[in-house]
């Protein structure tokens, strides 16, 4: 998930391997990335034209254009197939990348720093905002939507969320080291948890849906119904992409986590709003290029008049 950390710190790039002792790893690094978001594949899916993207990325893309971004062949959402093995590989690589990078640092005395997962005796303090930046890359910890504590998706779903909702003070069981608990539970490879089987994908939003029906739909999924019709529509569409993509993941999260992510996603927007972009930019842009726009309009009017008089004369 996108966080509000210093933007450049959380960005990884295949070129990070360039000065390592094994620069060829940059190839693997770039192969495991989605061609749309350029980040590591999350819940990858295969298109009918044999191309792979993050489920959520290709779903968002197909919303506006029913074509494969790579080969421009016609592709439909219904044809997308999840590739769980690749999800596992990508997750593994994402999680182990910092350590790998560290082990392949060119410096002579590279005593590798012990990884958190190997020292269970270390008290598992709930991860705070500051440490999140580093953690985010190593471990796909999820944030509890209620108490904002970070923990493994498994723990959140199996025990924490219910107790947390029942009693806001509940914290992840302190005896269980948060990170190592992730490795203890071995799931059969290339399988998703049972609860996924009970769920079906949400069908795409009918653009002619009435506003009341749209509100009903948002209510049904426990989503806010505020804002304009367009905002509600955008919110619902994004939720459908997120929900359906979640069902393609080898580590799917609870719906409540998705809703929390959706709210954050809308939050990034208001954040960008204060930083000032399109709305202000539009006005600024208009101010800055008023002269040119005015001239263009004048030109267009002159052209129009010319065409009109031409038409008149041919009459």
């Amino acid at each position: 998930m996108a966080t509000f950390t210093d933007p450049l710190d959380s960005i990884t790039d295949p070129s990070d391997w360039a000065d390592s002792t094994f620069p060829n790893l940059s190839k693997l690094d770039s192969l495991l990335r989605c061609h749309i978001c350029k980040d590591f594949l999350k819940a990858p899916v295969l298109t009918s034209c044999d191309h792979i993207f993050c489920s959520v990325c290709i779903r968002r893309s197909l919303e506006s254009d029913k074509k494969c971004p790579l080969c421009h062949e016609e592709t439909y959402e219904s044809k997308l197939r999840k590739v769980l093995l690749l999800d596992e590989i990508s997750t593994w690589f994402t999680r182990n990348r910092p350590e790998l990078l560290d082990k392949h640092r060119p410096t002579a005395n590279n005593t590798p720093e012990p990884v958190a997962a190997l020292e269970p005796e270390k008290p598992a303090a709930p991860l705070r905002y500051e440490s999140r930046k580093k953690r985010a890359a190593e471990d796909p910890l999820v944030e509890c939507p209620v108490c904002s504590t970070f923990m493994s998706a498994d723990e959140l779903q199996t025990s924490h969320i219910d107790s947390c909702l029942a009693n806001k003070r509940a914290r992840p069981s302190p005896s269980r080291p948060v990170i190592s608990s992730f490795f203890k539970k071995e799931r059969t490879p290339q399988t998703q948890p049972e609860f996924v089987k009970k769920k079906t994908k949400i069908t795409n939003l009918d653009p002619t849906i009435s506003t009341n029906k749209l509100k009903e739909k948002l209510n049904y999924w426990n989503l806010p119904t505020g804002g304009t019709r367009y905002q509600m529509e955008t919110r619902m569409k994004e939720f459908i992409s997120m929900y359906n993509a979640n069902l393609d993941s080898v580590n799917p999260v609870d719906d409540r986590v998705l809703i929390n992510r959706l709210m954050k996603w809308e939050g990034t927007y208001s954040l960008s709003n204060t930083a000032g972009d399109t709305a202000e930019d539009g006005a600024q842009w208009r101010r800055r290029y008023r002269k040119e726009y005015d001239e263009l309009i004048k030109q267009a009017r002159a052209n129009m008049n010319r065409i009109n008089t031409k038409l008149d004369s041919t009459d």
Binding site: D39, L70, T234, T268, Y269, S270, A275, D277
Partner: protein, 154 residues
């Protein structure tokens, strides 16, 4: 409230930035604005062998909210005599319009613009008068393009 960006800001905005920092393209620079990471100041060197050789062309690039689902908006700031670039600096290039794909990057777009300078296409014009000149009197058109490069793109 306007519509939210379709993808998390941090990734979409900084990916192009990191790519430029880590893997620069010869003859092309892209520097984001300090107060608006969606807005880049771009320079493209005129390709050698073209009438734009020796010129340094300034452009502005803006990543819309829906990037990468929508193409970046690019515009020449430096005056240029080219059949596919109009007086406002707007560019007629398929990958910026109908052929945009979210799999493309800022990098590939800027490379395409550089390539457009090497191979003007008067059959798909944006600046009609320039295109006419290019078709009727190519030598003269190239001469004008060279003069403009010397006058405006230094």
């Amino acid at each position: 409230m306007r519509n939210p960006p379709r993808t998390p800001m941090t990734t979409t905005l900084n990916r192009p930035l990191t790519v430029f920092l880590s893997d620069p393209v010869p003859g092309i620079t892209a520097v984001p604005h300090e107060d608006n990471l969606r807005y880049f100041n771009v320079t493209i060197d005129g390709p050698s062998g073209s009438p734009y050789e020796g010129g340094k062309f300034k452009l502005e690039l803006f990543l819309p909210d829906d990037y990468p689902m929508l193409a970046p908006k690019v515009r020449f700031l430096t005056k240029i005599y080219h059949p596919n670039i109009d007086r406002l600096g707007r560019i007629c290039l398929d990958v910026l319009k109908a052929n945009w794909s979210p799999a493309l990057q800022v990098r590939t777009i800027l490379l395409s613009i550089q390539a457009l300078l090497s191979s003007p296409n008067p059959d798909d014009p944006l600046a009609n008068e320039v295109a006419e000149e290019w078709k009727n009197n190519e030598q003269n058109a190239i001469k004008t393009a060279r003069e403009w490069t010397e006058r405006f793109a230094q």
